[in-house]
Each structure stands twice: as C-alpha cells, then as structure tokens.
C-alpha cells in the first residue's frame, strides 16, 4: 500500500454541531435527506448523573471491507491506497453492499440511482493533498487526517498518545477510522 490513511475522531472535542455533515453535503452534492456523515448524540444515565455519547456515523474505510467482497459487479472496490470506492458505472443498485456494511454507511442516491458513501473526499481533496471536507471544516478540530506512514504527521503523533478505539473491531474489518473515547460524564 502506498498510503496508510487514518481519520481520527476525538469524541472529547466533538460537539455534535453537524458542520461536518453540511460540509460533506456541499462538497459532494449529497442529495437532500441523505447523509454520508452524521454525528449522533445520546444522553445516557439518570438525572443528574448523566453523560453524552458522541458517535460519528460514516464509512470507516475497512481494510477488510465486506461491501467489496459481496459486490457482484466489482463496482465496490479497494484502491491501491486501501480506500474503498464505488464505480458508479458498474453499480447495478443490488444493495448487497448496503446489507453487508456493518456501519450502515451506504445508501442509494435517489437522483443517480446508484449506491454511494463517504470517499474521504478522495477525488476532490485528498488526491490534491487537502484534508477531507469534514476534517477541514470541523469547528473544534475533533477530526484529524493523514498518512500513518509519515511519523511526523499530526494524526500519527496523536494516535501514539491516545487510547484508540476501532469501531466494531471484533468484526475484523480493520477500519481506517479510529475513535478517541469520551472521558467525561457517565459511560454507557
């Protein structure tokens, strides 16, 4: 692999403001009422002993992507950098990948009638050495992104310092998105 991308989501910095979601919508022309990324918040505990869960819902760019293996037309594929993409021309909207994805990251674009999801903004931004739109826009810098092969990259250094949680790690999908769990309030 030429690059080893990682997107770090720090729950301690996230305020659930949805700027990432709107930036993604504008950058990628995501159709109305569809979402490539959202942050869900949930209050937990009993008053006044409360906590809040912040959960980023999007494609986690698995190294072992179930969506790719189930795709009958190879529309879902993995690039040389290990990113999972969808070739719109080959997609027959069979929705196998939607069912296979444990992260509920995929949906049918109702305008194009093809399956879509987060791309890490590969074409418009990452391939031009820019951060994905969500990372760039985040008001609190809760997201960081970079190539883990570069040891001086912020994302690599932060990964070293923090306890990382890989979503649904037990499925062995090996996500490229890692969470830094919330340290405050009651825990679920």
């Amino acid at each position: 692999m030429e690059k080893q991308y990682r997107l770090l989501y720090d729950e301690n910095l996230c305020i659930g403001c949805q700027a990432c979601s709107v930036a993604c919508r504008v950058e990628n022309s995501v159709p109305d009422d569809c979402y490539r990324v959202q942050v869900h918040m949930q209050t937990i505990g009993i008053f006044p002993h409360l906590g809040m869960n912040y959960e980023r819902l999007s494609c986690v760019m698995c190294e072992n992507p179930p969506c790719v293996s189930v795709c009958p037309t190879h529309a879902s594929f993995q690039s040389k950098d290990g990113l999972v993409h969808i070739d719109e021309r080959a997609c027959i909207t069979c929705k196998y990948c939607i069912l296979a994805c444990p992260y509920h990251a995929r949906f049918v674009n109702p305008i194009k009638n093809v399956v879509e999801k987060c791309t890490f903004c590969y074409e418009t931004r990452v391939s031009k050495e820019l951060n994905p739109a969500c990372v760039s826009i985040c008001p609190t810098e809760a997201l960081s992104f970079g190539d883990m092969h570069q040891s001086n990259a912020f994302v690599a250094q932060k990964s070293q310092k923090e306890v990382l949680l890989f979503p649904k790690a037990h499925l062995r999908t090996k996500p490229k998105v890692a969470f830094i769990p919330n340290r405050k309030g009651m825990k679920s």
């Binding site: 403001c17 979601s21 505990g45 826009i137």
Partner: protein
C-alpha cells in the same frame, strides 16, 4: 439528542407536504434557472449566517457551487466553520429567497404583494418617510437593526433623517452584560480561554451558540485533562456534557450561587487584596452586601449543596489568576440580570485575573495600541457612518430619564416599543424601518408587537426572506445575501487588533442591492446625500481606509488584516516586555514591576478605576449600586420555568427555513423530564399546551433525562407564522410568545426565562 430525534420524527412530513413548484412572487424560484457569473477562485470574506461574523473563505466551482470554509488567514479560525456557515450556499440558492422588492396590496399582514422595481420601491419609501417627517416630525419613525455594519449604517441614516429612535438587537440579547461591563470597567472585556486552567461556566453555551474562535478555544480547554470546567445549567447542554462537573441549578439562580462564592472568598480573605486596593473602588460595599449570603443561604435557591460552594471557591482561588468566571453572551435569566452579570464580574475582580494570562482582558484596539506604542503601528480608520446629534427625546427615555436611563441611547429598549406605539406616549409613532431585524420571532410578546404595528402608517423591512416581520411591511426591500455584496471594513480586537472585510463572492442573482446601496440611494432621494463622504462602496472603503491602498489590498485578497502586534496583557510582565521591545517608546509607560499598570488606573468609568460600587447607579436605582440579592424569581408563581437557547445549527430566527439547516433540525419539541411528563400523562411526541398570563401555546414534548423536573427548554427561532417560509412555517413553537415585555431592572434586557403551566391537549 433533539436534532436527530427532531429530524427523524418530523422530516418526512416536511418533504412530502412541500409544494416546491409553486413560487412566491418576488422569490428566487420565480426566476427559473439562474446562471451565475463567476470564476473558480478563492475569495475571503465575513460570514453572516449568524452574528458572530467569522472570517471565511469561499471557493466558487463551475460558476455555481459555493464551497465555504474558515479563512485560515485568521489564525484562530483555521479552516473551521460551523454548519450554518457552510450552509450559506443553500441560502444563496434558496428558491424561497426574495429577489424583487414587494409592495403591500392587501391589508397589513395579509401577505398580498405586488412586485416592484427598485425605482418604484425606493421612491415609495423615500416619499412616505419624508411625508411622515413633515407631518409628525422625524422622531415619529423608529429604526431597528441587527448588530454589525447594518446597525452602524441604519443608526447613521436615522440621525441624518433626524430621529433619535434607533434600536439595535442588544436589548433582546447581550445588553445586561454590556451594561454591567460599562458600569464596572467602562467597556467590555474578553476572556483568555487558551491560558486559563479553571473556568466556571454559567450557561455560556459556546457549543451550541457557536463563535468559531471562542468555541474552538473552549473545546480545546474542555478536552484538556489538566484543566477544569464547571458548568451550571438547568439543562444537560453540550457544554454540560463536556464539563468536569455539572450542576443542574435552578433556572435563574446563578446570582445566588455567585453571591455566596463572593461571600466565601471575602469571609476567608481569599482574594487578590493587592489588586482590589490598587485598581478598584467600593470593595467595602460589596463585603457588606454579601455578608449574609452564605453557602447555606444559596442552597435552597440554587439546589446546590453548600459544601460545593466552599470547595469550588477554594479551587478557583488556588487557580487564580488563571481562572475565568464566564458571563456568557446572553443569559437574561431574571429581572436581576444586571445584578447577576455584575456579580460574575465581581468574582473575576476578586480573583485579580484582569489583564493577566488566563484571565480577562481589555480589547487592544488600533487606537489603544498606537497610544501605548506612542507611534502609529496600526492604521486607524475613518468612520464612514457619521452621526449628527439629534436633539429630541427618545420614546423609551433610554440614556435620558426614567427606568431606561442607564440603557444606551444608541441601542434602546426594544420591549418599550409596543406600549409607546399603542399609548402614543411620550409622542405618536407613525413609521418603523427595520433592517434584518425580525422582532415578531425574536422579541417578547410578538402578539402585542403585531398589534402595535397595525397602528403604524408605514413600515419598511429589509430582509432576504419574507419573514414574520416582513409580512407586516408596506414595502419589503430584499437585500442581497452576504455572499453577493461588498461592505466596509470591520474593526476587531482581542489581545491585538485586526480588521476584516466582507467581499462579494458571486454577482447578485437578480440585481439585489446591499443595505449600504439602498440606504445611500434613499439618503440621496430624501435630500441628505451629502451626509456621507462617499457615493458607493468603493468610495466608502477608500474613505474608511484613509486612502491606504495597501490595507485595502490586503483586505481584498485575504479578508483579514492583522499587523503583527505582539499580544498584550497590561499586567503580564513578559507580554509587556515583548511589546516594549517591539515599540521602544512604550517603555515610558512601564512601572517598577514591569507592567502597564497606568492602563488600569485610567478607565472610562467615572472614577477611572474598576467600580465595584457605582455611585451614579445607586443614586437612581437604590440597592443596585453594588451587586446583591434582588429580583431573583423566575416562576411568577407558575410550577415550571420555560427556558430557551440556541442549537448549533440555527440562529434565533433567521435560519430555520434555510434548506440544509431545516434538514438538520426542523422542529423544537419542548424538553421535559420523564417525571414531569409522567405527572402530566405525556408521552414522547405528544401535543400539549404551555400556558401563562401572556399566552397559551401548542407544543410537542421531547422527554429527556437532561433537564431538571421543574424546568422546560425550547430551541429558539421556531414557530414562524409566515406562510412564505414554506419549509418552516407552522413547525414548532415560538417561546417568545410566552414572554413578558417587562424587562430586567436597569439594563432593559428582555427576560427569556418565564413561568408556565403544562396543560394537556
């Protein structure tokens, strides 16, 4: 959380009932496909999706898609921007936006309009305003505006026209803290979140009412394990979820808690005695005032254990001066809002954190930096908006006499307007000019404001949507959005000064005009064009910059101009030393301790010092010269308190119809504790009524553990009555409808906590 909850529950209804093919007269949709003229390039400007005015950068792709992000030339911004800011393009291309002037053809408020040319509309406005002036005098016309350059512009126009009755948004928002600062320090101070180690937060909701530089600094603070954040809020807000400790205090009881903090510090001698001695007056009066305000005393008022006060008082003292007792932007908790704000300022003063790292500090404006440096290191600006003195009394007596004598006459008390119109006292009001101001959503008791508006002969509204207030107008002037217009230079200053400028990103979609163009045109028509030293925005900018081409070029290219002035805190020796190294002439100000202590001895207060006790205030409002326990009731005898606040995706009234934002949050069900809901037999999503002496409003319920059982909460800005705002019309409830026009003592602030009953539908 309510966003997601709200979205899931209500969105489907919204989309299926939308009649997207029928366009309103004067709306963008009525024009059909719009071709844009612009190149794919970066332009830096200032956001206007809320009032924070964050520096931003736009990229226009293929002449249509406008991608917005923070302007990284502003260090505190980086590329960050909030959901509202990024959704600016969604507002720009919203088919429900107004692009053609409208003239009322039906009865007032009936929403029947004829499209008009700019010539027709502006000519009608100038004729009508001139006629009112001739017949009833210029003072018979009110002018009100949102804050920012619109306000400077309208205030200048009003005084050239001859009316003293200019109102800003202040009295429905930050006026209490502004007044408290004015009387205590002579001006408002800023907070050094970056360097603080301990922060007490009294409802300053920076994670839902976003201002990027402040929000970012606060997020870094709260995520830092070596720092401590304590949040007081009856609701489990996002801020509360990020706190080390959260206290769900009774709504409106902040004052009691802070008074007992002051009590403990003074009782134990744990305060900065040297600071108090050197820079303040009236400490003894404060000591007297809080003598009985023990931690036990506050317990029954706040619901917080006395031991907590003792512990927190000690922790803050240990952290001082790297501690901030945060006042928030707008709290308007009770009638005692002024005293609450003053108490919080006193807490900062006792900790001696003023002009120290991690404390609070005066804005280092261009003029201030130049005076300290004893040379011009930052170019100073001309004021393009002159204000000739108007020798007429205001309708609210603001800044003059009566209960609003301490309310700035530059800002006025909005809540006084309906009574003044209806009673015709002190004199008849006949017209109202509103620019980007929507009191029928954002001000208390809109029912009564509407009644008052009905009495007026002429109302003109500048807005980009056909808002609730615009619906009451005779003429609507549709402004170009902030992405389509140039403006003048804005001054900003934190520890060092900088300027920002709004630059046009795309050509106006349909010959829309900016407010600057409209007002300049009207002034010309009405015979006072010579009031201004400029004829158009280019001339305005050139005049303002005093012909400084380099400054203008920087602002055009970068949207922000800073001048590499070292950040300055007058009582922080290393920063004073850096300042002196850069500007050697400033060394003559330095005292024996290496500080600019003279700075704190010549404040804009009557005594020149920090005024813990204000003689002038005490004289007019007995018991208000020093902070103390007064007027703390918020329930007015009702069993529940309805509180309100912002969500991160909406403002107080403007954004609910913006497509991308409506998609995220389209309703504001009322937060209610499960035990309260159970007591009233309510289940999630049920309809019920909120009722008090002012109104009975229908609402739906959002049941959550995240609120006190005696408190209810609503996101502001919903419940629009204007049918032209098709997406948001009829959704949610407007908490303003339950609020009283009676304002907070002395400062004239609208009070946004109110007692209510819950009545089952």
């Amino acid at each position: 959380m309510a966003y997601i909850q709200g979205r899931r529950d209500f969105l489907k209804i919204a989309t299926s009932s939308a009649t997207a093919t029928i366009f309103l007269p004067g709306s963008l949709g009525a024009l059909g496909e719009v071709a844009l003229k612009s190149e794919d390039k970066f332009i830096r400007s200032i956001c206007e999706m809320c009032s924070s005015r964050c520096p931003m950068e736009a990229r226009v792709v293929n002449g249509k898609t406008v991608l917005l992000q923070g302007n990284a030339f502003s260090k505190e911004m980086g590329t960050s921007l909030c959901a509202k800011g990024v959704a600016g393009s969604s507002q720009l291309y919203d088919t429900q936006r107004l692009v053609t002037p409208l003239i009322r053809v039906g009865k007032r408020g009936e929403n029947k309009w004829a499209e008009a040319s700019w010539e027709e509309a502006l000519s009608l406005v100038s004729t009508k305003l001139s006629a009112l002036k001739e017949r009833y005098g210029a003072k018979s016309v009110l002018f009100s505006s949102k804050t920012g350059e619109h306000y400077d512009l309208l205030r200048s126009f009003a005084s050239a026209f001859g009316s003293p009755n200019i109102f800003s948004h202040w009295s429905s928002c930050p006026i209490a803290i502004e007044s408290a600062f004015h009387h205590t320090f002579g001006e408002k101070l800023h907070r050094d979140f970056e360097n603080a180690t301990y922060i007490l937060n009294f409802g300053h909701n920076l994670f839902e009412g976003l201002d990027i530089p402040l929000t970012k600094a606060m997020a870094q603070f709260s995520a830092n394990v070596s720092k401590k954040l304590v949040v007081f809020d009856p609701r489990f807000s996002i801020m509360a979820s990020k706190a080390n400790e959260w206290y769900p205090m009774k709504a409106g009881s902040d004052l009691a808690f802070v008074l007992s903090l002051l009590h403990v510090w003074i009782r134990d001698g744990k305060y900065d005695k040297k600071f108090i001695e050197n820079y303040t007056i009236g400490f003894d009066k404060l000591a007297d005032s809080v003598k009985e305000k023990t931690p036990q005393w506050q317990q029954s008022l706040t619901g917080i254990d006395a031991k907590v006060v003792e512990r927190i008082a000690d922790e803050v003292y240990q952290a001082a001066p790297r501690c901030i007792i945060d006042w928030g932007h707008k709290a308007t908790t009770t009638k005692a809002e002024y005293q609450r704000s003053r108490a919080i300022l006193m807490a900062n003063i006792l900790m001696g954190n003023v002009e120290k790292e991690g404390g609070i500090y005066f804005a280092k404006s261009a003029e201030r930096v130049n005076a300290l440096a004893k040379e011009i290191v930052v170019p100073e600006l001309n004021n393009p908006y002159p204000r000739p003195h108007v020798n007429e009394p205001r309708i609210d007596g603001a800044g003059e006499v009566g209960k609003y004598r301490f309310v700035s006459k530059q800002h006025g008390a909005l809540t006084a307007i309906p009574d003044a119109i209806l009673s015709q006292k002190p004199y008849p009001i006949k017209g109202w000019f509103l620019t980007r101001h929507n009191p029928l959503v954002t001000l208390a008791n809109p029912q009564k404001i509407k009644e008052a508006m009905d009495e007026l002969e002429f109302i003109v509204v500048n807005d980009i949507y056909l808002s609730d207030t615009a619906m009451m107008a005779d003429v609507i002037l549709p402004e170009s959005t902030y992405l389509e217009r140039d403006e003048g230079i804005s001054k900003s200053a934190f520890k060092s000064p900088f300027y920002t400028m709004r630059n046009c990103i795309v050509e106006p979609l349909h010959q829309n005009k900016s407010a600057i163009e409209m007002m300049r045109d009207l002034a010309q028509r009405m015979g006072f064009g010579t009031h201004y030293a400029w004829k158009n925005i280019s001339e305005l900018r050139a005049y303002q910059a005093k012909g400084n081409v380099e400054l203008l070029q920087t602002l055009l290219m970068r949207g922000v101009a800073s001048f590499d002035v070292p950040p300055l805190l007058a009582l922080h020796a290393p920063s004073v030393e850096r300042f002196c190294e850069r500007y050697p002439k400033s060394r003559s100000w330095v005292d024996a301790q290496g500080l600019f202590s003279h700075f704190l001895e010549h404040l804009k207060t009557p005594s020149g010092k920090i005024e813990i006790y204000c003689e002038e205030v005490e004289h007019a409002f007995s018991g208000y010269g020093v902070t103390g326990a007064v007027d703390m009731d918020v329930t007015q005898g009702y069993p529940y308190v309805l509180t309100s606040g912002k969500s991160a995706v909406h403002t107080n009234g403007h954004t609910q119809n913006v497509p991308y934002l409506h998609m995220l949050l389209s309703d504001n069900p009322i937060w209610m504790h499960p035990s309260t809901a159970k007591a009233h037999g309510l289940k999630m999503g049920d309809t019920f009524y909120l009722q008090n002496a002012i109104a009975k409003e229908r609402a739906t319920v959002f049941i959550t553990e995240g609120i006190r059982p005696d408190t209810l909460f609503a996101y502001m800005g919903f419940g629009h009555d204007a049918p032209s705002l098709k997406r948001t019309h009829g959704k949610g409830m407007n908490p303003s409808k339950l609020l009283s026009l009676e304002s907070a003592t002395l400062c004239g602030a609208m009070i946004t906590n109110v007692g209510v009953n819950i009545i089952k539908a």
